[in-house]
Every structure is written in C-alpha cells, then in structure tokens.
Subunit: 329 residues, 2 copies
DNA sequence: GGCACTCGTCGAAGCGCTTCGACAATTTTT
DNA sequence: AAAAATTGTCGAAGCGCTTCGACGAGTGCC
C-alpha cells in the first residue's frame, strides 16, 4: 500500500505538505502542488479512509435509513435513495445503508462509533421513536417527512398540501362543480403519517376557495370498484377525481370506466403519483420528484455539516403535468 | 468521547486487556471480562470505527453495488438489498451503497482507500467492464449474476435453467402437449444478461425430455395482446403457458382471457416471478427468492473474508408453488 | 523439586493521516 | 530602511485502536 510518506519522498516534500495539497487548508505554491499531484498519480496513491477518519474526526460517510414497511411504494424509495447517493458523491461523501429495523440502536451505533458524520432518515412518522435520539445525537441529521413535533430537527418533504390544492384548483378551473379526492387506505390515515392529511386539507381548502363541492374518501386498492361506485351513487354530479394512492390508480381507472364513464370526456382524472406511472397511463398528474427529494435532503445535511443552520422545514413543490386524462384546456 | 483507555482505567486494567475482551483474541479470566464489560456499559463505550480500521486493517464494511438500469424490477432489487444488509449486520458488518454509475472508478476508490473490506456486485452482465478490476483488486468480491467468463470470480444467481425446466415439467405432468414460454422483451436477449437464455434452455430441454412440443417467444409488456394472439394463431393446441417477464404477467393474463380462454380451465398459466406478484394474482409460480439471494451472497463474501474459498458458482434453487392458475393436481 | 508449559495481563509500538506551532523567505506597510 | 505581515514548508504530536513480545503466576510431569 502506498502511503502519504511515499508520496512525500517521491515529490521531495514533507508528508504534511502532501496533506495540505490534498485538503487545500493551507496555501501551497503552484510548483509544489503540481509536483505532489504528479507523484500521487504516478504512485496511484489513495488516502486510507480509516486513518483519515481517525485524524480528522470526519469519516465522509453519511448514514441513510431506508424504510422496510409494506405499503410504501418501493420504486419511489429507490429513486430517493439513488438521488441521495448520487448527491452525496457530489459532496465527496459515501452512503452507509441502514434498515429501519435497526431502529434506535442502529443510529446510536453508527453515530457513536463515528462511522458516519451525519444521518438521513427516510419515512419519518408522526410520533417516531427515533426523534429523541436524533435530537440528542452529536451528529446532524435530516428527516424526510414531518413528525408531529419537528422542534430542533431539520425536515424536508413534498408539499402535499399544495399538491392537494393544485388538484382542486385545476379541476375547478376546468369547470367541474363537484370533485372528489380518493386517498390512501384507511390504515394510512390511522397510522398518521401526516402526508395523507395534508393532501386532504389542501384539497378541501382550495375547493372551498373556489366554491366547488369536494368529497374525500380513503380507498383500499383491492376495493377500488366499491369506492368508485359509492362516490358516483352518493354524488351523481361528480365529474372530477383526484387520486392520491398509487396502487389504486389503475383499479380506479378501470372501475370508473366500468361504470360507463369515459376519461376524460365524462370524468377528469388526475393522479398524485410519480412520473413513470403517470406517463405509462398517460394521466394528468401532480409529479412527485423523488430523486430530487433525495438530493435536496443531502444538500441540507451537507449544510449542517458545514456548520450552517438550514431552515427547519423545507417543502418541495411538485408540478402539475397535463396529459390526456383531463380535457385539453 | 469515551475511549478504550477510559474503560481501562475504570475497570482497573490496561487498554490492551479491554481490546482482548472485545475481540476475544486472547484468553481473559471470567472475572476480568465481567469487570471490563461492566465498565463498557457504565461508560457507554463504543470503539471508534476509524481507529479500529486503521489499527486492524479491517473496516467491517462491505460495498454493495446496485444497478440503476431501467428494465430491472425495482422491488426485487430492493429485496435483495434488504437481504444483504440484514445479513451483513448479522456478521457485524455494515453496508456502503454504491450505484452502478460509479463504475470501475468507484470500485477502485472504495477498495483502494480501505473504506470497505469486500465488494458485492449486483446485476453483473455477460461482458461486464468491471470484471478485470474485480479480479485484480486486493479485496474479495462476490457477483450476483454470471458473466461469460467467471474464471477467478465467485458468482451466485438463481437457477433459471432449473426454473425453466420446472415449468416445462410441471406443465407436461399436467398433461399438456403443447406449451409455450413467454420471455423477456427482445432487448434483454440482445443485451445478453444470460438469465433469459438459461430459462429458455431449461424449458426446451425439459420439454424435449418429456416429448412435449415447446415454443419460446420474447414479449414486450406493451405488446402482450399481440404475443398472445400470435401464439394462439400459430399453435391452436396451446394449453400451457409459462411467463418469465414480470411486467408482462398481468397484460398477458388479460390478453389470454380476452381471447376467451379461461385460466386454469382452458389454459394453465405459470409465472416465474416474485412471490408478492404471484400471491396477489393467485398464480401458480416459480418463486424467486430475492432476499435469500442477498443473504447468501453476503454469506459467500464473509467466507472469503475469513480466508476460505467458497465454490466459484452457486445456483439458488427456486421452488414451484401451486396456486389457482393451474388445475389442482 | 525442577523444568517446561499454559494462562492472563501489561507496556509499547505502530497503523496512516491531519494539524498545530515554528520558521525562513518574501512581501507589504510605515 | 526598519517593522510588520504574509506565504510556503516542515517537524512532531497525536487521533484511538490492535497486536506483538514479555513476563509473573500457576499447573502438570518426571
């Protein structure tokens, strides 16, 4: 293994000079810098990560805690992971993967042993047991999702309130007077992940502002037909539907079509869903930028590592993409 | 931060003794061990990962390279990842996530800097550019998937040959005389990932052995209807179908039903697919144990880290689960 | 009773890097 | 022209751990 002292001899300087060339923490003459860089390349030198971590008290690794629960949409998680890893690399950091079932111990382990410099937690719940630990840890963290009490924490999430509102506004602008939001399965509302409630609130607020009649109904993907039938029975004038429930999107489309409604002629259909799904089905949608969320969360983490204090709450706007499940404006 | 010398003073022993208690590399009296363990708990001591890596030349971290390509089934990847991470933790190791687009440089970086002790590569292709690097690296690696030339490498994958054969045999045993394997999109065969070919080979071999007429047809999920129509037109006597193409499973089912065939009465349908999909659609299937593949690959890696030489090739058997898309035996 | 072992523990060296203080040489300020 | 500040480099200390050799105390054997 080639070490820093090898590079130093080869370049005719001291090891500390090599270190300063690499870190840029002290000024180095151009000539010296070039000689050192040449030696590094010539010898194929790579700093030893452990030695570096020991001496600098920085591992340049962040932990990423991924959810395991069923009911989450795996491709979205994966996109966020990809975004986070890619972004971390851009900041010259690596990503250590933790699963949620390592729980509180896992966090304490990787933080306590200085394996990682910071922690990114995906899929935070309203009353997450990890919150107190994250607050007490000596390493910065960023949460994806908002807990009930985000005091002292840095959180980021999609702006579901705005997404819900955008659905209602768009449907209202199309001239619909009676619209519905079909949401997550009842269990999700009960677990209180928060996002389902926020979409609903936005939808209802915007509908009220526009003077449009709005109903909200949870929906289990396995009972899409039932949901569609119920809605149409109770609200015969229903002509605009927003769906915030990925697995239920296709069943719901099928269910509405089965009642004889044509989309978009008789029914405007808009989905809050990732782009790939919406594209495949050619649905007007509120896109959920998963990869960007991964990237942005890492950016926040890096700010904290740099000693800055980013805003405690970040809401990522989504944008409405018109496709063919709503009439052309 | 509490360090090993703090524990040592607290327990009234030398630091080296604490280290030996932790590593078990020298015998320690029960009494001393207990005192040391008590001090560790009392002080909340955690060995510094970097210091440990530096002194022991072992980071206790393995790299996991995940694929990014489109066309791979994300939930399966995630399951393998989960299996790998969980298993690694059982061996007291952590997992560093690399994306495939870090490529060769990424491997050299994490290996060269001693960030990781070993490397697990998912989704290896027939003529993968990373193969020479992996061979030349000074750290052990395990590949998930088989390249054209696996010399000097340790590889593991599902046994698709056996899966294909099992399909043909099962269909033959049910009495079908004319059967079909509907495979991956043409592009997959062209890329030469190998697994598609192996399934096909097993299917054809077993069919020949049973004296059953077998056809194989690639299939793009977006053209399922076409595939079904073609097959039925060219082979009117077709009564047994195996599908090795997850996204196409549902479209194909729909397509066959649209032709008037009832499953399983007129047509036996068997899928090579992960359990969750097969369960949801209640299909007889060859299950693909993704999480187990993750676990087993880590087990192989650990063997190599222990200085053993595991077999160069491991094929993971899959098992046939009868559900209601084939007639009860 | 002496010799050869084993057992349990300790001290010290060293893993490869960063960083602090020092210092000579140069540049800027007065 | 002298004093002060800046620049570029070096040496040495030290980050927290593992591991090697040493050694005293106990054990078994002839």
């Amino acid at each position: 293994m080639v070490k820093i002292s090898d590079v130093a001899s080869h370049a005719g300087v001291s090891p500390s000079t090599v270190s300063y060339v690499l870190s840029g923490k002290r000024s180095i003459s151009d000539q010296t810098r070039r000689r050192v860089m040449d030696s590094i390349r010539a010898l194929g030198y790579r700093p030893h990560a452990g030695a570096r971590a020991l001496a600098s008290n920085r591992s340049n690794v962040i932990a990423l805690v991924v959810p395991l629960r069923s009911g989450i949409h795996v491709p979205i998680v994966m996109q966020m992971v990809i975004g986070a890893v890619t972004s971390a690399r851009a900041y010259d950091h690596d990503v250590l993967l933790l699963t949620q079932d390592e729980g509180v111990d896992g966090l304490e382990r990787v933080a306590g042993s200085a394996l990682v410099d910071a922690i990114l937690v995906m899929d935070v719940e309203l009353h997450d047991v990890r919150l107190p630990v994250l607050r007490s840890l000596d390493r910065p963290s960023v949460l994806i999702g908002f807990p009930a009490d985000p005091t002292g924490l840095t959180c980021i999430d999609w702006d579901f309130e705005a997404a819900g509102a955008a659905c209602a506004e768009y449907l209202a602008d199309l001239g619909h007077r009676e619209i519905a939001l079909i949401g997550a399965p009842p269990a999700v509302y009960e677990r209180g992940t928060g996002f389902a409630e926020r979409t609903k609130a936005g939808f209802q607020r915007a509908a009220a502002e526009r003077g449009v009649h709005a109903v909200v109904r949870p929906c289990d993907p396995d009972h899409a037909r039932e949901a569609a039938d119920d809605l149409l029975r109770d609200h015969p004038g229903l002509t605009g539907v927003a769906v915030h429930n990925e697995p239920a999107v296709e069943p719901l489309l099928a269910a509405f079509r089965a009642t004889g409604r044509r989309v978009p002629d008789d029914l405007s259909f808009i989905a809050i869903a990732p782009d790939d799904l919406a594209e495949r089905l050619d649905l007007t949608s509120i896109s959920i930028p998963a990869e960007e969320l991964g990237r942005r969360s890492v950016a926040l983490l890096m700010e904290k590592l740099d000693g800055h204090q980013p805003p405690g709450a970040t809401l990522l706007p989504s944008r409405l993409v018109v496709r063919s499940s709503t009439p052309a404006a």
